[in-house]
């Protein structure tokens, strides 16, 4: 044995410059374990009480499939709609100075701060056939918004929008203006500059915002159930179906739906993540 090995410290764990790792990590694991890990493990285990065939059968129910289509399709539509609107808000609050800019900036976070049930109630009142927005829309186009899939998408859009703004905004703010100036000196028009220089630089952030908004919208419950009308096969969302199954004491079926939702949305987020990584690599 060499001399250096003989005087090596005996404890395998590295000593820390700052104290408190043991205590804080202990608290963290207790907190995380009791609140998040163990309950989510229960979710991962419970469905299999039905057996694999039972889980498949529970998920293949037409009503369940329709609810998944509504939740995932609606979230997709809402997240897509949040792209142009979110971009507009981010652009206006980072690039222009105008009276009320700070108020607009603060308002964008409203969906984060407003209790979901309040948002649901408010949107229902607004888009009902006699509502401030629902009435003119119905008069002009004949479309009903509240108590239809369109209502679901409106509520999900409300929920997803701030994610898009708040992910694009910091990137837009940090975008060096000189690249835009360089594009201008090279003869590009303002629109060409925005389309060829600004938007590609924002693409990864837009994808992140899209993913965050989508993930939140898929699971949204409070904002949706008031405006959705909750008609099975038409405007019923997957989270509501979990509640329905629980009320029927079909715990395993409820867990199967919950687990499927989680797995599906994580898979989608993973795909978005991979796509985003490729985009970033393209940007160098």
């Amino acid at each position: 044995m060499s001399a250096s090995a003989a005087i090596a410290p005996r404890s395998a764990r590295r000593r820390q410059a700052l104290p408190g790792l043991g205590l804080t990590l202990g608290v963290t694991f207790a907190w995380l374990g009791a609140i998040v890990i163990v309950p989510l493990a229960a979710l991962a285990l419970k469905p299999w009480e039905l057996g694999v065939a039972g889980v498949v059968a529970a998920l293949a129910e037409p009503r369940v499939l329709a609810a998944f289509r509504m939740s995932f399709g609606g979230a997709l539509a809402a997240a897509l709609a949040s792209v142009p609107v979110g971009l507009l808000f981010a652009w206006v609050i980072t690039r222009y100075r105008f009276p009320g800019r700070r108020v607009l900036d603060a308002l964008i976070d409203l969906p984060f701060a407003l209790p979901t049930a309040v948002a649901g109630l408010a949107l229902t009142a607004l888009f009902a056939s006699n509502g401030w927005l629902g009435a003119p829309i119905e008069a002009l186009t004949g479309w009903k918004v509240a108590y239809t899939p369109a209502g679901v998408i409106v509520a999900l859009f409300f929920v997803a929008l701030p994610f898009m703004v708040r992910t694009v905004e910091p990137v837009l703010r940090d975008l060096p203006l000189d690249t835009e100036e360089a594009a201008a000196t090279l003869g590009a028009t303002r629109l060409q500059t925005i389309r060829r220089v600004v938007l590609p630089a924002l693409a990864p952030a837009m994808l992140t915002g899209f993913g965050l908004g989508f993930a939140r919208a898929v699971g949204e419950y409070g904002s949706v159930i008031f405006i959705a009308g909750n008609m099975p096969m038409i405007s019923e969302i997957a989270p509501l179906l979990i509640v329905v199954k629980l009320e029927q004491f079909s715990y395993a079926a409820a867990a199967a739906i919950g687990l499927a939702m989680l797995v599906l949305s994580f898979a989608i987020l993973l795909l978005l993540n991979l796509w985003q990584r490729r985009l970033r690599r393209g940007l160098g």
Binding site: Q16, A17, L18, P19, G20, L21, L23, T24, L25, V27, T28, W31, L32, I35, V36, P39, A42, L88, F89, I93, R95, G100, L104, A106, L107, D109, L110, A113, L114, P115, T116, A117, V118, A119, L121, A122, A125, W132, L133, F158, L161, R166, T167, L177, E181, A184, R190, R216, V218, G219, Y221, G222, F226, L240, I242, V243, Y251, G258, M261, L269
Partner: protein
């Protein structure tokens, strides 16, 4: 901004007006609608709906649930932020991901997991019932579900800030003879107090306003396990619209005040707090 990066005036004005119109439609009209519906028949019915015993019980329960959940998540969040930002260990990224996990879980699933554990057919339900302990359809269930959905708020606001501030000040304090608690209280805490306050406020707003998760574990027993958002739903489903919107307006006020406080704190610290939450 140079001439080359300035958009033409008509475009600027049009974009600002469009954004303003959309902001009014998306953010202000819903708020106004809640207020208008609540006051449809004047202040009197709205006030009596709020001062109704069931409403008052809901308000008390909401405050009680928040007053347990928020401290739990504050202690956990501060501990996690200290470990992640000020110490070295393997698996930090995994830990951060796990802490943020509740944000990407549907509120209904956040309630469901506790029913699966503690419900009548849950893993621990029958045993707990034998011991006479009730969790689901009772206060503990409401608290657990609320802690789950508000889990990441404090940690999330603190971790990036504490990482950005580095460890030099804490290390300096250590070389000057300060112990762990002294370092935290005298050096770290003063540097993060506003962000911590903002995180606590956001956590509190969500805790008081949470609907989906508590809905699943509550059982909706009026006067007993009904929080304010659940009370709104019950009133609405019973066509007591003025009452529903009156209580909703109270909750909306909570949201607006939280938002104002957060904006104020952001101005105070000149940085954004708690994005994507």
């Amino acid at each position: 901004m140079s001439a080359a990066t300035r958009d033409p005036a008509p475009a600027r004005i049009a974009l600002v007006l469009l954004a303003a119109a959309l902001a009014v439609a998306v953010f202000l009209l819903p708020l106004a609608a809640v207020l208008a519906e609540a006051l449809r028949r004047g202040w009197e019915p709205a006030w009596s709906a709020i001062s109704d015993p069931d409403s008052l019980a809901a308000i008390r329960l909401t405050l009680l649930v928040a007053s347990i959940s928020v401290p739990v998540n504050t202690v956990g969040g501060v501990a996690a932020a200290w470990a992640i930002a000020k110490c070295d260990f393997a698996g930090k990224r995994l830990l951060t991901t796990l802490i943020e996990l509740p944000f990407s879980v549907s509120p209904v699933i956040s309630g469901l997991v506790y029913v699966l554990l503690f419900g009548a057919q849950g893993y621990l339900g029958p045993w707990l019932r034998a011991q006479g302990i009730e969790i689901i359809f009772a206060l503990p269930g409401l608290v657990l579900a609320t802690v789950f959905v508000t889990f990441p708020f404090v940690a999330r606001t603190l971790i990036p800030l504490m990482q950005e501030q580095g460890r030099e000040e804490e290390e300096a304090a250590a070389t000057l003879g300060a112990g762990g608690w002294q370092i935290f209280r005298r050096v770290t805490l003063p540097n993060v107090k506003w962000a911590l306050l903002a995180g606590v406020l956001l956590c509190n707003a969500r805790a008081m306003g949470e609907f989906g998760a508590v809905s699943v574990v509550s059982g909706h027993i009026r006067g007993q396990t009904n929080t304010m958002p659940l009370h709104v739903e019950i009133l609405y489903n019973e066509y007591m619209f003025v009452g529903a919107f009156a209580v909703a307006a109270l909750l909306a006020l909570l949201g607006v005040v939280t938002l104002a406080a957060k904006t104020l704190l952001e101005m105070l610290t000149s940085r954004r707090i708690g994005e994507h939450v």
